[in-house]
Amino acid sequence: MRQIKLARNILLGIEDLLLHKLRSFLTTLGIVFGVGSVVAMLSVGEGASKEAMDQIRKLGSNNIIVNSIKSVEEESTSTTHSHLAIYGLTYEDCARVAETFKAIRQTAPVKLIRKEGRLGERAMELRVVGTSPVWFDLVQRPIVAGRVLIASDDNERAPAAVLTEHGARKLLAAENTIGQSLKIGGDRFEIVGIVKSESGLAGNIQIPDQEVDVYIPINVARSYFGDIMARMTSGSFEREMVELHQMIVQVDSTEDVEPTAKGIEDMLKRFHKKQDYLVSVPLALLRQAEATKRTFNIVLGSIAGISLLVGGIGIMNIMLASVTERTREIGIRRAIGAKRRQIISQFLIETVVLSIIGGLIGIGLGVLVPFLITYFSDMPTVITAASIVLPLVISFGVGIIFGLYPAIRAAKVDPIVALRHE
């Protein structure tokens, strides 16, 4: 019964608003754009941070990643022709780290070598990744076909190679790759399995990506290809000696991540003369991304708050004018027997209906914008339930808050005076 009455009052309110279509429309514009921009900005922000966080999360929140980097002094002296740059993590570092810290569950070394690969007729530049079996587990690379590297490959120096889906597709269009022979440099390897490809970069952490990657046992990589690599860069010939390019460490629990990272850093500092390593913690990056997102949301919230405030004031302004204009109507209604609260609810309903309609149009607009952004620019956007419900609740609140004063003003009208009002 009460619901029916409310529904009827809302319908009457809408009828009244429809009498002044243009004015009602203009009144809601503030709310429309306020809500629209909130929804659009939320979805763009959400999309951006979701992408960043997904990438960081893929690196593993319990992982610590240590990369070898060419130190600054090394860069400046490497201009001479036959200079040999020696830097980065060593096998010894890796073993020492694994032995020292109790919290460490697994450690995976990574050695990167560029070699030409040949499979039947096809030849292309490969990025050969020498690593241990646990690596596949640490960076979460599920098997697509065959198997990943196993401990015996490493121990027996078996020439086993694992490809990524992407790499397999580039090397060999359709045929079954497993069991085929792949020539890397001058050596023959047997393709034993295919894993899922990884894409993208996160922060300053390198993850083997869209290149054609081949994973081989680290001991095989070391004994077949050695540690010295020659590279031609902009006319000069460069030689580098790097034992390990990366080391991925997994600890038991999230709480161990930061203390262990600190310990590794301190230990490396003791054994390395130069700062030729970089310890990164995906968890820290995740926290940083979350903090950035929080800041972003606060800024967004303030902007949204201001625009909705402006929208609300706009509505209040128009409603006050409407109350003055309709003084006589209010007097008539009061004379007939309308109570003050019935006048209040009449005007309040009109304001709330206006602002909610504005909110709905705004949401429509706000959903359309990210859709267009994604369509035209590939930028990811995410529309969450909250980014729709929240603005709707806010526009309802704006209607109540900014409608109350005009409605109370309307109810205070003295019917005797109002009836004489021209």
Partner: protein, 237 residues
Amino acid sequence: MIRQAESNSGVEIIKLEEARKIYWMGSSEVKALAGVTLSFKRGSFWAIMGPSGSGKSTMMNVLGCLDRLSSGRYILEGQDVSTLEDDSLSEMRLRHLGFIFQSFNLIPQLSVQRNIELPLYYLGWEAESSAERARELAGKVGLGDRLHHRPSELSGGQMQRVAIARALANDPQIIFADEPTGNLDTATGKEILALLTELNGQGKTIIMVTHEMDVAAYAKQRLHMLDGVVDRIEGGD
């Protein structure tokens, strides 16, 4: 100066005892009603007359529950309404009174039907039954074919008929008419007055404020106000 206004037929529906209404105009006191005692019987047709400033409008507002007395008592339908709160006064107007104004006071953006339905809306009637009642009343005042017109599309006489239909919607015992013919030509005015007479014949108590003698002649009794008190009473059965 206390006068008793009496009628032979029916029971008292309105009773004022020592009614006073004082306004403050800046720092000076205006006694709009300076102690009025009177009673109107059910089914009577009164004209309240008097020059401007005589207190007849104040009298009308007080009797119509739009204004409250400064002192004295007002008994309407056996209930003392002089101490009622704003909400209760609204309730009295809604249930017992109907109003007709000189300037019609229809709500311009509402159709004839919606205007007539207005009291029923506040009484909480269902949409269908109030639409039916509005149709019936519009027919009664001769506007059955104008239900969906806006007031601006009607003539003055038609607008006043709509106002009468609206005043009748809640089936009030008393109808207040404030200069009901003031904005109408003589012929139309006569039609409206005939309609009021007819309603009186059906048992409604009618209280009409006017300053025109020939309009007041339609009433059965005439009460003349002067300086906030009852000057004299004419008529009676």
